[in-house]
């Protein structure tokens, strides 16, 4: 980040742009599916308008020009001069893509904008706006000559007010509003706008005695026009002297709007005999007797008044907007009531007093507040918290080793510390959690483009956009999802003709879903295309020497062959799905995140890619085990159950493949110590412990270890950055005693176990 404030704001601008683009896409898609309304169109307009405004400030001419044409059409749509039909929405969607290109180009993160495409869309937008294209020059916004508006600023000539001696008070840094005696600029303009009435209303005791309610009368007045109400409570005696049956209050109501005096008098029809009432025209009409009353000090004695006032103000101010079908928000409910009802809080002329009086209301009034924080700072915090967790675990271990009683103050204090540490960790992690929406939002565009390139018709259905996952995970999701979506459209879906011939709708559907499942995030990409051509996949795998010709593979295993390095089913390399670096690269990048990917396919019906990733890359709930003298950590989420094997439950298939009977089911056994290469000989089963684990694909295996040492939350440290990738290991961690332990990758371990024992001919990639 630069020190130059202008550059820093530019960074903010591009951040804001990516949010605006997201909103844009969401709202346009809502319009496309017919869920949009006038507010959606307004939101689109605002987004484009904001991009244009910011771009103008930074002199990004191309971006401004394009946004301007876009904005002009949106203005036509929101004013209702042009109907927002299907063709328009489709064009707007493509225009938003080009707008994104312009932004990326301006930011320097994208390729230069395809000028022909941009110009083409400008022409299309103009045709939609005007019915014909206008010369590009005319579209370029020029800063208007301000004289165009014939505007003269309303000057607040401070020198005219107050003697020079009063002016120095302005130089005080403290807010000193009263000394800033401004001319009454509101009155002339308000008068120019509409006539109105000044109503002074002083109820007699009899008015209250006949059960009239002043607030109802005031509300009635607000229906006639804009009102501002002042209460004069100066006649109110002290509490001791107060006669509750007497009347002390005087209201002054300034009512603006096109209202007749008769209409105002109608409001007071039933109480006129029980009050002093003066109604004077605001534009200097006939003054009545009561105008001789001295100006009323503004006193805020009636506690409900300010809240009422603000709500009414808002309602009035919003009035013209409400003409559009917008769900009225409920600021009224949020309007806070002053805390101390009896405290006379001067409403305005003394800001010194009014500021603290109003202060308690501020927190209640504010919507969710957000701040932007540099990611580096959050990461630093996460690292430190990671160290804290380790330190806490080490301390706990030391204390236990020292032989202190579990009920000792120190041990109990440590337990509290552990809870707090966990709380801190969860809170810090929550800071980094983000919905996958930001990635999903980019996909509709990709689908449109791939569909256009391949001549296929595709509908993308997304769900679970709000699923939250660590920011790093979110960022790294984009690439594999992009790749798999391309694959699904390019290889999965048939052409419209083929689909119709197969009795399917011409438009193919691709579903993109995110969900949480057992402590991981699962992304599913499903198409309703032709499914995997298994004989062909198998043939290719044999041709490339990836499997033996006589290998016996299940359907699932055949499907998953496409993840092997160098495997590419596209006989001619297409533009879309890449150059044969396909799915193995995807799988490797996912494995690097501690994730897994698999595919299941139904011939003629379609395929589903399932990708699962840990929610966070920082911590893991693990089971600490030992095998062949090594300490290892198994992810808790994978463990179903643990048990001590009985010798009679263990059987051997084909002489040396051990399986264990587990609830009427035979589960293959994996000897962790041997598979990991910690020892060569097979363990004797007695004395060991078996953990039943479930792989991502749902199959079960029994991991044989020497002992289970306990459950612990561990901080994940990448092994790759410190050493290199190791089969069967997803990462490493530091335990309480300071030693390093490897975290097992259950799926890879199970596959490796398979390979070691019974399928030497199947060269499964790690």
């Amino acid at each position: 980040m630069s020190d130059d404030p202008f550059e820093a704001i530019k960074v903010t601008f591009f951040q804001e742009c990516s949010e605006l683009l997201g909103d844009l896409e969401t709202n346009l898609l809502a319009l496309e599916t017919g869920e949009g309304d006038i507010e959606t169109i307004n939101a689109v307009f605002r987004a484009v308008h904001s991009v244009k405004g910011g771009a103008g400030a930074f002199g990004l001419e191309d971006l401004v020009r394009f946004a301007h044409v876009f904005e002009t059409l949106m203005d036509e749509l929101r004013s209702g001069r042009k109907e927002c039909d299907d063709v328009t929405v489709k064009t707007l969607l493509r225009a938003s893509d080009v707008l994104a290109d312009h932004i990326a180009a301006a930011q320097g993160t994208g390729a230069p904008v395809d000028a022909a495409r941009s110009a083409g869309l400008v022409a299309e937008l103009e045709v939609l706006t005007h019915g014909q294209a206008t010369p590009a020059v005319a579209a370029a916004p020029v800063v208007a000559d301000e004289d165009d508006f014939g505007f003269k600023p309303l000057t607040l000539d401070l020198a005219d007010f107050g003697a020079p001696a009063e002016l120095p008070s302005l130089d005080l840094p403290a807010l000193d509003l009263p000394s800033l005696d401004l001319p009454d600029l509101a009155a002339p303009s308000a008068a120019a706008l509409t006539a109105g009435w000044r109503i002074v209303f002083r109820p007699h005791p009899r008015l209250y005695a006949s059960a009239n309610d002043v607030s109802l009368l005031l509300r009635e007045l607000t229906r006639l026009g804009q009102t501002s109400v002042e209460l004069d409570a100066s006649g109110l005696p002290s509490l001791e002297a107060l006669d509750a049956e007497d009347a002390h209050l005087i209201w002054t109501i300034v009512l603006t709007g096109d209202v007749t005096e008769a209409a105002v008098r109608d409001v007071f029809d039933f109480v006129e005999m029980d009050c002093d009432l003066s109604i004077t025209a605001l534009d200097g009409g006939s003054p009545s007797a009561e105008t001789a009353l001295p100006p009323l000090p503004v006193l805020d004695a009636a506690p409900a008044e300010p809240a009422f006032d603000l709500a009414a103000l808002l309602a009035q101010a919003k009035a013209p907007v409400e003409a559009a079908p917008v769900a009225a928000p409920a600021p009224v409910a949020a309007a806070p009531k002053p805390v101390a009802p009896a405290a006379p809080a001067p409403a305005a002329p003394s800001p010194v007093a009014s500021a603290p009086a109003a202060a308690p209301s501020a927190p209640a009034a504010v919507a969710p507040v957000t701040i932007r924080v540099d990611l580096d700072r959050v990461d630093r915090l996460i690292n430190v918290v990671g160290e804290l967790v380790i330190q806490q675990a080490m301390l706990a271990q030391r204390v236990m080793e020292s032989g202190l009683a579990r009920s000792s103050d120190i041990a109990l204090g440590l337990e509290d510390l552990e809870l707090l540490t966990r709380d801190i960790q969860d809170s810090v992690m929550a800071i980094r959690a983000q919905p996958v929406k930001s990635v999903f939002q980019r996909m509709p565009r990709l689908v449109r483009e791939v569909a256009e390139m391949t001549g296929k018709r595709v509908r993308l259905v997304t769900s679970g956009e709000d699923t939250e996952v660590d920011k790093t995970v979110v960022e790294r999701l984009a690439e594999p999802i992009t790749h798999m979506l391309r694959n699904a459209i390019d290889h999965g879906l048939e052409s419209p003709e083929e689909r119709e011939a197969a009795g399917k709708p011409a438009e193919g559907t691709v579903r993109l879903a995110a969900l949480h499942r057992s402590g991981r995030i699962v992304i599913e990409i499903a198409d309703d295309g032709k499914g995997i051509n298994r004989p062909r996949v198998r043939g290719i795998a044999v041709d490339r020497g990836l499997i033996a010709e006589d290998a016996v593979l299940t359907d699932d295993e055949v499907d998953n062959l496409i993840f092997l390095p160098g495997f590419s089913t596209a006989e001619t390399i297409t533009d879309v799905s890449g150059r044969g670096v396909g799915m193995d690269v995807v799988r490797r990048s996912i494995q690097a995140l501690g994730g897994r990917i698999s595919i299941s396919s139904n011939p003629g019906k379609g395929s589903t890619f399932t990708l699962s990733l840990p929610l966070t890359l920082a911590v893991l709930d693990g089971m600490v085990v030992s095998a062949a003298g090594q300490t290892l950590v198994a992810p808790l989420s994978a463990i179903v159950e643990s048990l001590t094997p009985r010798i009679e439950d263990v059987h051997y298939v084909g002489g040396h493949d051990a399986v264990i009977r587990f609830r009427e089911e035979f589960v293959p056994m994996v000897d962790v110590g041997r598979v990991m290469g910690f020892r060569d000989d097979a363990t004797t089963l007695t004395g060991g412990v078996v953990m039943i684990v479930e792989t991502e694909a749902g199959s079960r295996a029994a991991l044989l270890v020497d002992a289970i040492n306990g459950q612990r939350q561990v901080v994940i440290k990448s092994l790759e950055t410190h050493y290199r990738q190791v089969d069967g290991v997803s990462a490493a961690t530091i335990l309480g005693d300071g030693s390093v332990a490897l975290i097992l990758d259950i799926d890879a371990l199970v596959i490796a176990g398979h390979r070691k024992s019974n399928r030497p001919e199947l060269k499964m990639a790690s």
């Binding site: 904001s50 840094p173 808002l314 013209p320 305005a348």
Partner: protein, 129 residues
């Protein structure tokens, strides 16, 4: 001659970029007391809670637009004399006319320079030191 440093300004815009730009310009002019609000409604609440000398507001905002904010500020006696500068785009001539009706003190066309903003401020308050 009022001192810019004594002015208390509320900037209302739904775009963080715009608010930052205005704040930056105001600081260059010498204004020290600057607060921000992200839409008209929040702006109104802020102005009522903590009075300011000047509101600089965008027109196009969700919840309550700039015109609505101006009307509310003028209708509420304690804030009715607050100076108000409206930010507009070039195409908003009609808007400026409406804003004049509601008693706007000045307006500023986007994009603007610090010098232009200062000129607008001085159009309202007279020469600033």
């Amino acid at each position: 001659m009022p001192a810019a440093s004594a002015l208390n300004v509320l900037v209302v815009d739904d775009q963080l970029t715009m608010r930052s730009l205005i704040r930056n310009s105001l600081q260059q002019i010498g204004v020290r007391e600057i607060s921000e609000a992200a839409d008209g409604e929040l702006g109104l609440r802020a102005a009522i809670t903590k009075p300011v000398h000047l509101i600089i507001s965008d027109f196009n905002m969700p919840n309550l637009d700039g015109l609505g904010l101006l009307r509310a500020i003028r209708a509420h006696p304690p804030t009715s004399k607050t100076a108000f500068i409206m930010l507009t785009g070039r195409a908003d001539r009609e808007l400026v006319q409406r804003a004049v009706q509601f008693g706007v003190n000045n307006y500023l066309v986007k994009p603007f320079t610090t010098a232009q903003l200062k000129e607008k401020l001085e159009g309202v308050f007279g020469p600033l030191t």
